[in-house]
Amino acid sequence: MPAFVRFWGTRGSIPTPGHQTRRYGGNTSCVELRMDGALLVCDGGTGLRELGLDLRRRMPEGVEAHLFFSHMHWDHIQGFPFFVPAYSPESRLHVYETTPGDDRVRRLLHGQMKSEYFPVSFSELGATIEARYFSNRELWVRGVRVRCFEQPHPGRSFAFSFEHEGKKIVYATDSELDSCVCDPLLREREPEALRRLPADLVRFIEGADLLIADGQYTDAEYPSKRGWGHASAATVVDLAVQAGVRQCAIFHHDPMHSDDVVEEKIQVCRARARTHGSELVVFGAREGVELKL
């Protein structure tokens, strides 16, 4: 059974509507996966609103969705109060917590709908919304094996791996990969050389048919953004090459980057993959694009 992936929001940090960002899109993080008949949603940035509208059309009888939040920064949760299925009593939403007993995700979704921030409270949502927990960083949704992996980001974030019938998709946004490169001085010494990343991270991603990864910055930008929790796209390519990934979607585009700048960043990434002798397919995650794996 094929897996489908659709990008609903690919922008990082803040929505960026306008002509300059039309091609890659201005909505913040939201990716829809359909595997083994399950609807899996990665992050609830402003792209989630558009997904909700589409789901209402596709599944008018009610939606069952599994929501995975990489972390709870604004650009990953702001779409939730505008997610139409959440208002329907026919909907069932499963919200995943990465740590057993921790209700952080549900608590913060609730918190952003306090009357100071939003006119409708969480308790007024009509859908059945229930928390589910990872156990030892793993769980199953139908026949899909889901694993999570902690990433370097202020306040921490999680990557998710989804595997079903030999297909593997990894969603790994908001990760400052450059902070965990094995040789931190290599980028200055030999910018073109392959940046080795920790073995456990490489194993987590290994063999993915698709890696969706935060590649917000160019190499030139990263030093001035150190500590902000995002990666240089070049380092993402190096991770994908080491992990034997087939396709890599550079995601979480910088809000200051126009479509032309993103396009240039992707060309640099493709050249880098070729330099490493890899056949990795690299592309910029673009709102509205759907892949079949």
């Binding site: 592309f283 509205g288 694009v289 759907e290 892949l291 079949k292």
Partner: protein, 127 residues
């Protein structure tokens, strides 16, 4: 609004004020989105996307018929919704590549290239 010019005998410092609608007489001119065939059998050629759905394929029964052996009979559809056009792969044998990346479906934007086997199109937005 007309800015006066000396050759009409107006005072060059004065401006005649008028309603733009009355002077131009029409609103924006709309043109449909189109697909331009750049490479492949029958190129160059352009297809105006006038219907809600137009199918690209090898079959003579489809709206955009391209006689390429690498193309399925019904290969891909172009579905219009208002000004937007969405490209959808119809379970074709060789797939659809948008700007070099294989996709199942995608909203199209000005200048996007669509490659199907040895056939290359460029998409032009309507206006």
């Amino acid at each position: 609004m007309i800015v006066s010019e000396d050759r009409f005998g107006f005072d060059s410092d004065s401006t005649l004020v008028g309603e733009p609608g009355a002077l131009t007489g029409w609103g924006p001119i709309r043109r449909p989105p189109r697909l331009e065939l750049l490479q492949g059998p029958g190129a160059p050629r352009a297809f105006d996307l006038l219907a809600d759905e137009m199918v690209i394929g090898r079959s003579s029964q489809v709206e955009i018929c391209i006689e390429s052996q690498l193309m399925s009979r019904r290969h891909a559809a172009l579905r219009r919704s208002g000004p937007d056009v969405r490209l959808v792969d119809l379970e074709s044998a060789n797939g659809v590549y948008l700007n070099g990346v294989r996709v199942h479906s995608a909203g199209l934007l000005e200048g996007d290239t669509i490659q199907i086997g040895d056939v290359l199109f460029v998409y032009r937005e309507g206006g």
